[in-house]
Amino acid sequence: MSELRPAQPVPRAPFWQRLQAVDRRILYSLIFASVIIPVVWPLHLPTPVTPESRAFFNAVDSLPSGSVVLFPFDFWPSTLPETEPMAVAGLRHCFRKNLRVVGLSNVGMGGPSIADRLLDSIGAEFHKSYGVDYVNLGYKANYSAVLLGMGSKIADIFPADHRGTRLEDIPLMRQVPNYDSVKFVLIISDNAMTDYWVALVNARFGLPMVAGVTAIMAPKMLSYIHSHQLIGLLGGMKGAAEYEQLIGHADKASLGMDAQSLIHFLIISFIILGNAGHFMMRRQQARAGQV
């Protein structure tokens, strides 16, 4: 029978070492709190407007009443928190200016349903009628054929709208046979479709366009702004919040910016703390002759 000895106290790991191994549940809890707190108690931080967002607003605002705007809903449901506020603000701006909106989607999974929901709900806010003030063409496979084909005859690509009504039976679409009747394109996208709109429609047909894209895509899209292929750009939730501010209707993006502010701040704190721990550990190891 072995002799029972009192347990030796285990030496505690140095502070910096413990900092390196923080339980990820603590990190997740902090992130969760940073999202929830500003939603419950909004901070109402003002969002400075970038020149690209202002150019986006000015381009839509300067369109004459009754102009036809092509409105591609080229985004997946996964990016709705970023893209939906842009689409909502864009539709509000268009309907307030009495612009006529032709919606479509090059994203098969969900795009047309999202377009339907947003067009109907924002259309109802401004007492707009389907088929007269706006229409949803839906989705057709093969984006290049769709984008180029609509330049010749929209009805060849979309014989019927998303609801199955023949285009010739829709009053708005009787006046819009092809791009010649379209004044402007307002793209909301979370994928490479913006590149194709620029390369295939702006380059060939000369249609002026603006784009609202996810934050991760914005740096690439800035090059189209500088080459004047895009007139304006909304980048991520910040761009959407700026646009909401410009149209004077604060909504989900403005609310989300508080949460985004805290999250960015928290992630930067994590990076600084993680690096501080890493350097202090290396320093201690160097002193101990382990490195």
Binding site: L45, G149, K153, R163, G164, S223, G236
Partner: protein
Amino acid sequence: MKTRLPVLVAFISGALMIIAFFGRGSMVDAASETALTWQSIVGGFALLLGAVSIVRVHWQKISTRHEDRFYSACLLVCFVVMGGSGVVFGIGGGTLFDGLFQRIQAPMMSTMFSVLAFFIASAAYRAFRARSVSSAILLVAAMVVMLGRIPMGQYIYHGLPAWADWIMTVPSMAVQRGILIGAALGAASMSLRIILGVERTYLGRG
């Protein structure tokens, strides 16, 4: 003939679209319009081919009692329910398909994407280390852009938004343009190779 015919079709289609892009004329327009309508129809069939392929792959997993057969079964059930509801009741607003999409699929996809925030935070804490000069530059640039892009940034230092804009519009854009030009040149040369019949891997042989 099995090789020549597809190469000829590729040549005529490609050349036609190039001519239609740069010049306009009634004959060219009519021909390119027809080609685009055909392309749209072929695209529809490609989707059908994809659907058939996905059913075959997952049905095979179920029939061979593969360890992932339950996921495959789940996929097929969802495929049949979504596809069937769309075909039988339509896909417009207020239909069963629309309800399934708006209430199940869209929230699930948004949730999956939102979970990324937690992983990014954890990864930022554990993996984003200034181990070298270049990674330190990247780290500082990322921090400036992240702070400069949020309203809180200007309260920390009023010049941060301008710094963030400079990083986005000068060094970042220079790289983006380089990538864009490189990709465009690559796409143009590959397209030319296909149109001229030099590149034939799409036929299933080198």
